[in-house]
Symmetry: C2
Subunit: 714 residues, 2 copies
């Protein structure tokens, strides 16, 4: 596939020479008037109105159709009703318009008919080399070009890019953020994504030199795997703050009726977002909180927070919050304490971390500044959290003066704990436009720091120059070839569920440690196998499509003698009326730590690796984590550290620490199986038992999709 | 103990006829001027200043000492430095002052000397029948009496009571809340609690007819058990919103240096707070968010939320949030949908739950009102969450009109999603003072609803009229008496750790199901026991103070033959050089679901019951929950539902549901043991195995404190 030059492809959209508003009107209360007014107010010069019923709108000549405009039109907005949109698209195509924004709703998100209409619009546009944004969107905001989607938005240029499937999100975030003095390079509301998608725009903004960070709202993606790849690449250079709507099942249903987007499984999205270095948020508040930190603060070089608080009680509570977020609030070094003691009068509170300035700071607000200046300079702190009882210009001046000539800037977040909702709201633009990340609650300020830390960690281990994710290529050894043989045999025989023994053969071909075992067909083979494996051992019925063996009484663990073995054999056989199963004689792996490793095929992301607690706890505790395959070693280690029961992986109650490298290796290899064999639908290795420190696959199940199905998915 | 009439005792504090400010001054920038100015501004009439160096302060005559005031003084504030405070207290005592507020810091929180000085002040005051609030506090705010601790605070009376160990919390919460039009009955900052404690004031506010809800900040309590009992009683009538600072270890350290309060273990506080029906919060923001809901909204009668949202995307995300919080967002009934469809024009979005009003609501804001009016009337929704793109007076009028003549009010929370930080801040007092619970983020509005629900549930199962907690009295059967015998024997022999067998005898005496077992002293007894118990069985070494038997190789489970039994016997004996242990022959309980039940003695709360996952997961998953003993059946059931692994309690992977009644009974009884026997220091029943549905105590350990220690604790 030829490399797509997304920057060259999409950049012209943001810099049109001329714009036509199809469906513009002078009538008050109409959408057609709103959009017209926005562009007129923004001072866009080559602006044309299209409305057969009006001759002039806001001082601008109106044409019956776009074809009647005697000048070239680069960019058209179609605001007409659903049924006349296609005709407008046809005319735009004929006119040679390069970009069409369709704001009108009632297409793919409204049912089958709308979906067909939407498809037809795209066909018409694409055949004329024209691109569509929307429908069901509000379009594009690019202050440097005079392009806007909203009334009253600032037209100052900045470095934040925005992509949203929700028009409201695009509108509200840019409006509220610019009011606080933080500005945007480009923003785009892409609605139903009939042609250009959020992924396209994310990729574009990743390459756009004017954009330094990206904020996005998505409810789903028709191509989540590409989205994932794009985000992972972009995150190496620029933070992406992403709000993924529709995470729970009911939420996802609402999403379907909202924009026609498909919402993937919440757990897969969560895993994929972590893997891609995304700063994931779940509310508008978190969007703003992260924006205010990522826009104005550098990335920290560690997770040690120094807290300076005027009120002592909040210092206590904020320490709690920081620790819960995984940050550190270390005691200061003697040197730092000496510096603080020297610079500050004896305060009623504490000068160790957290610093409690006490009432003294009410009398002398400069104490706030003295403390943060010292913390900005010392080596034992990576970030500063100030809880101030000063506000407005006083607070601004204190902070700016204290940090003015600090050489290496550290992240500094400020909580303003004085005044009312109203006065704090008034201080936001004042402080933010001066580069001070301000919060109205210390817990939120702490959270913003933890998000900076998380992202800094991703950047540290994923430098922008590093090569692409290479899980399936460089890190995975070649297989013995037995994997393909086993699966092809099964498919040839019309089977899609491999037996435990076959499944383990596939795993073994990839070098995954499995139990030693023999599949026996008769009593003679069975007795021989007992000798070979040795007691204690486990005896299981073995046949393809034999799930839930334990519940069916087809598993006999910890068999200690031939007598017990023969009894088990007899009992299994008695359970089968017709065709008798093979009997698996398996070495007995003992260990009380049971894990599970799996592979599932997500509708949107494709193969995903799963890791979690095994045995009966897999379902009970829902303690598992997912990643998009392929995964590399570092991602596998991340997964292992991700589960709540991670304590059992280390040395634990007299048991040795698990061989984490070997465990990570299993995860990487399971991901590789999914990538190498597109017809693998599910892998379930449960339990993986820690035999001492060594993980061993004790039971396994591989499910294939029919071969044709598999080929289609390739 | 004579019933303390806390209301009669504390009410006069809030209604003094006269106030003296000791350490008042006219000098700018001094605390003595601030407090003076506050009371002068509040218009308090019988106000006297005490300062030997000044003759008149703000137009009020100043006396050299409180003794020189020729009128009675009910209430004195001591603002003088630490070293002169005791003298001031002496003079107040001599003068017959009834209440002294000491704002000065540097007492118990500053070390041993300060602690002694503080103790002396209390002795002097109490011997004259005078009560102390503080030191290290800002005192009392009671608008109806003209009493205040803060400049610029509203002097309008309301129904919120406040108690705080932090002066800043008291000041800031009353200031910001009254600025929004929500007012207080009484507020008190009790600092070091040298005499009167937060618990005293909570009990008082519980009985105060002017107080309808309480907000509190605590970092610890010297008498957490009484605090717990008081809160549990008060919560039956009035909600208590409590922020407990110092929950983590580092946080707790900061707390010690802050007010000298002792912070109990986080998990115990959490359990106790839930048990007492407390609305627990962790930040100022949560305090305000809960206040705005509990002050203005009724309690819901169920957990079904109807969401009305102008922006569709947030409707999706807010549905997610509600579900994560345990609320329901059910689809509407056909009748409700019909009503909505009739009342509202075809909107672009959805009229099922969540209702997506779409852009239509921008053109016609009254749609917001139409939708909430219908949801307020229908039977299939208990609460309403409105996400509005209107603000200010428009929003206020829409909401008030829509809900004006609704008979049964439902909780309604409103999110204002329009404008900037500043304009939203401006709308807060406008909306809140009109009784509209407004939020700037839908996720926070949803959380406020979930808190109302939680508390409504507590109120429903703990009606105010119900009798006191009766865990140890009515619900627990009398014991066989064997429990006391076993423990007394051990103590007489100088042992504080009971053997497994002794521990189980205690449990058995309470009717807790334990394994059938024999303690054998020699091989003959051992062989007899094998016959009696029958194979398979478990063999364990048995001696007092034998902990971690499994790790030491002193436990042989699943012994299937006499040969295996004798081998185990021999191996155990070989491990002991000197005195041989007894051998426990125990029925083998099989079941893969292991739980743990325990009792611990919290320094502040006394005996607490613990329940969690058992076996190796107890430590690994930290999946356990605590309650203050005694507990009743309902509290025991709450605990069982509390653990993350609660799924395994129900029917699970072919295993039957646990007998929850029997499990709850074990929890209740373990609590009773702790209450009945004050010298029981720890009980550890781990594992309790579910044998089918029946819980059985398979291993147990009881630790006693020395008898003297126990008696002291009584």
């Amino acid at each position: 596939m030829a490399e797509r030059n997304i920057f060259a492809e999409l950049d012209p959209i943001f810099h049109p020479g001329s714009v036509a508003i199809i469906g513009a009107t002078g009538k008050p209360g109409k959408v057609g008037r709103l959009f017209m007014a926005r562009l007129v107010e923004a001072g866009f010069r080559e602006l044309y109105a299209v409305n057969p019923g009006e001759r002039e709108i806001m001082g601008i000549k109106s044409y019956p159709t776009v074809l009647d405009i005697p000048y070239p039109v680069d960019f058209a907005m179609i605001l007409t009703p659903t049924d006349s949109a296609l005709q407008a698209v046809r005319e735009c195509a004929a006119k040679g318009v390069k970009t069409i924004v369709i704001t009108t709703a009632g297409f793919a998100e409204a049912g089958k008919k709308g979906k067909e209409l939407q498809g037809e619009m795209v066909r018409v546009a694409r055949s004329a080399g024209c691109r569509i944004i929307g429908p069901n969107c509000i379009g594009v905001y690019c202050p440097s070009s005079g392009l806007t989607y909203s009334l009253g938005q600032s037209m100052e240029s900045g470095s934040v890019g925005l992509v949203s499937q929700s028009g409201f999100f695009a509108d509200y975030v840019t409006y509220r953020t610019t009011a606080n003095g933080i500005h945007f390079s480009k923003a785009v509301s892409c609605g139903n994504e009939s042609d250009l998608t959020a992924t396209d725009f994310l990729e574009y903004l990743g390459k756009d030199p004017e954009t330094e960070m990206i904020v996005a709202y998505l409810e789903g993606s028709k191509d989540a795997r590409r989205l994932y790849n794009v985000c992972k690449e972009v995150s190496k250079k620029k933070p992406i703050i992403l709000w993924k709507g529709g995470m729970t099942e009911a939420g996802a249903q609402a999403a379907v009726s909202h924009t026609g987007a498909m919402a993937g499984s919440g757990a897969t999205w969560e895993g994929g977002m972590r893997q891609a270095g995304i700063v994931s948020v779940k509310s508008f508040e978190e969007v703003f909180d992260c924006l205010h930190a990522f826009c104005l603060q550098p990335l920290p070089s560690g997770k040690r927070v120094g807290i300076v608080s005027a009120p002592g009680g909040i210092a206590v509570a904020t320490t709690d919050v920081c620790l819960e977020l995984g940050l550190e609030v270390p005691k200061f070094s003697t040197r730092t304490i000496e510096r603080l003691a020297k610079a500050m009068p004896p305060v009623g509170g504490s000068i160790n971390n957290p610093i409690d300035l006490s009432l003294a700071s009410a009398v002398n607000p400069q104490l706030h500044g003295d403390a943060i200046r010292i913390l900005a300079e010392v080596a034992d702190i990576d970030m500063i959290l100030l809880i101030a009882i000063a506000g407005g210009e006083l607070l601004r001046d204190i902070v700016l003066r204290a940090t003015a000539d600090i050489k290496t800037k550290k992240p500094l977040v400020v909580t303003e704990m004085v005044g009312t909702e109203e006065s704090i709201g008034r201080d936001f633009p004042l402080l933010l436009s001066s580069g001070i990340s301000v919060y109205s609650d210390a817990a939120r300020a702490a959270k913003a720091l933890s998000r900076l830390c998380e992202y800094a960690r991703f950047r540290a281990i994923r430098p922008a120059a590093a090569q692409e994710n290479s899980g399936s290529t460089s890190e995975t050894p070649a297989t013995s070839g037995r994997d393909a043989q086993v699966m092809e045999t099964a498919l040839r025989e019309g089977r899609t569920v491999l037996s435990e023994h076959e499944s383990k053969e596939v795993l073994r071909a990839y070098g995954i440690p499995v139990t030693e075992e023999r599949e026996t067909r008769d009593e003679r083979e069975f007795r021989e196998a007992l000798d070979e494996i040795g007691f204690p051992l486990a005896i299981k019925a073995s046949a393809p499509a034999l799930a839930h063996k334990t519940e069916q009484g087809l598993v006999y663990p910890d068999i200690r003698s031939e007598q017990e073995a023969v009894a088990a054999f007899t009992q299994i056989m008695a359970k089968f009326k017709g065709e008798k199963p093979a009997i698996l004689v398996q070495e007995m792996i003992t260990g009380s730590r049971e894990l599970m490793v799996g592979l599932s095929k997500d509708e949107q992301f494709g193969p995903c690796v799963m890791f979690g607690l095994g045995g009966i706890f897999t379902e009970a505790l829902e303690d598992h984590t997912l990643r998009v395959a392929p995964i590399d070693r570092r991602e596998a280690l991340d997964m292992i550290g991700d589960i709540k029961a991670r304590n059992i992986i280390g040395a634990f109650r007299g048991m040795p620490a698990a061989d984490v490298d070997q465990l990570a290796d299993i995860l990487v290899k399971v991901g590789a199986i999914g990538v190498d064999h597109p017809y693998v639908k599910e892998i379930d290795i449960n339990p993986v038992i820690l035999a001492g420190s060594k993980p061993v696959a004790v039971d396994a199940l591989i499910v294939l999709s029919g071969q044709d199905e598999g080929r289609n998915e390739r």
